[in-house]
């Protein structure tokens, strides 16, 4: 991990046309950008396109980057927009497929069983990762994007709302439904694995 000062020096070299310097920036942030692209698009092919197009656009527009945010934040926003365009091109589930609110009344009608601390050693790690990914893919896009930005990448409600062009209260509702859906999916899997009774 380099500090901001070192990053500025690398950026300066990249702005002067030093491709090795730009490649260094890709190596520094590539995994995080690819991870975002993969989760948002839900498939490797689209994620590869988004990942490559993001950095190629950043390279082309590098002289427009004024340093008001960190380089990562700037690239991250390019990647989000690219991923959203990709999803809209597919038009798959983008505007429909609603999820219901959690049934809070039922939550209080029967005693809830708590989960143990889930150690990844308890389950086949790779199979567990695939299960988590599959559950995320099952979430309709309008919920998935909110969950990824808010919970997996730590953006604020306001920032998520602005990026997705929805209201903050809509962001909160989608997030709540997404979390509840994923919790239920995970609970089913943990029961299948015999970790929960």
């Amino acid at each position: 991990m380099v500090n901001r000062l070192e990053e500025d020096k690398i950026l300066q070299r990249a702005r002067q046309g030093d491709r090795d310097a730009f490649a260094e920036l890709v190596k520094m942030y590539g995994d995080r950008i690819y991870g975002l692209a993969l989760r948002m698009t839900g498939n490797e092919k689209d994620a590869e396109d988004v990942y490559q197009d993001t950095f190629l656009m950043a390279l082309r527009k590098l002289d427009q980057f004024k340093g008001e945010s960190s380089f990562f934040t700037w690239v991250y926003h390019i990647a989000i927009n690219m991923a959203i365009s990709k999803i809209k091109q597919r038009k798959k589930n983008f505007s429909e497929n609603g999820l219901e609110d959690p049934d809070f009344d039922r939550l209080h009608q029967e005693p809830q069983k708590s989960w143990p601390d889930i150690e990844l050693t308890q389950v086949d790690r790779e199979r567990f990762r695939k299960k988590l990914s599959k559950a995320l893919e099952k979430l309709p896009e309008i919920y998935r994007t909110v969950f990824i930005l808010r919970d997996m990448h730590g953006l604020s409600t306001e920032e998520t709302a602005r990026i997705l062009e929805i209201t903050p209260s809509n962001t909160k509702i989608r997030l709540m439904r997404a979390r509840n859906f994923l919790k239920n999916e995970l609970e089913s899997f943990l029961k299948e694995e015999g970790i929960l009774l």
């Binding site: 491709r19 993969l38 989960w115 990914s133 990448h153 509702i173």
Partner: protein, 86 residues
């Protein structure tokens, strides 16, 4: 506690999940969780779900082939720029 008030509180809990529960906006939530076992368990499950997904997002690596292609394009665009300058 039942009905709308309860439901609103749980929605607030969802919004503040991951925030510092000792912070002033969360004090009523924290107070409720201390009294309500079912809500406490529900929130704990949501927290564990989110934590597992955060971990998943940190584990992702770019495939080598994808990086090789990207670097080729990055260096190729430099050659193209040079070609235009001539």
């Amino acid at each position: 506690m039942k009905g709308k008030h309860h439901s609103k509180l749980l929605k607030d809990i969802c919004d503040f999940l991951g925030s510092d529960l000792d912070s002033p906006p969360c004090s009523s939530i924290k107070e409720h969780l201390e009294k309500c076992k079912n809500c406490e368990i529900y929130v704990d499950k949501l927290k564990k779900t989110v934590a597992l997904y955060r971990k998943l997002s940190m584990d992702t690596k770019v495939p080598d082939r994808v990086n090789r292609e990207l670097f080729a394009k990055i260096y190729f665009s430099k050659d193209k720029d040079k070609g235009r300058e001539k």
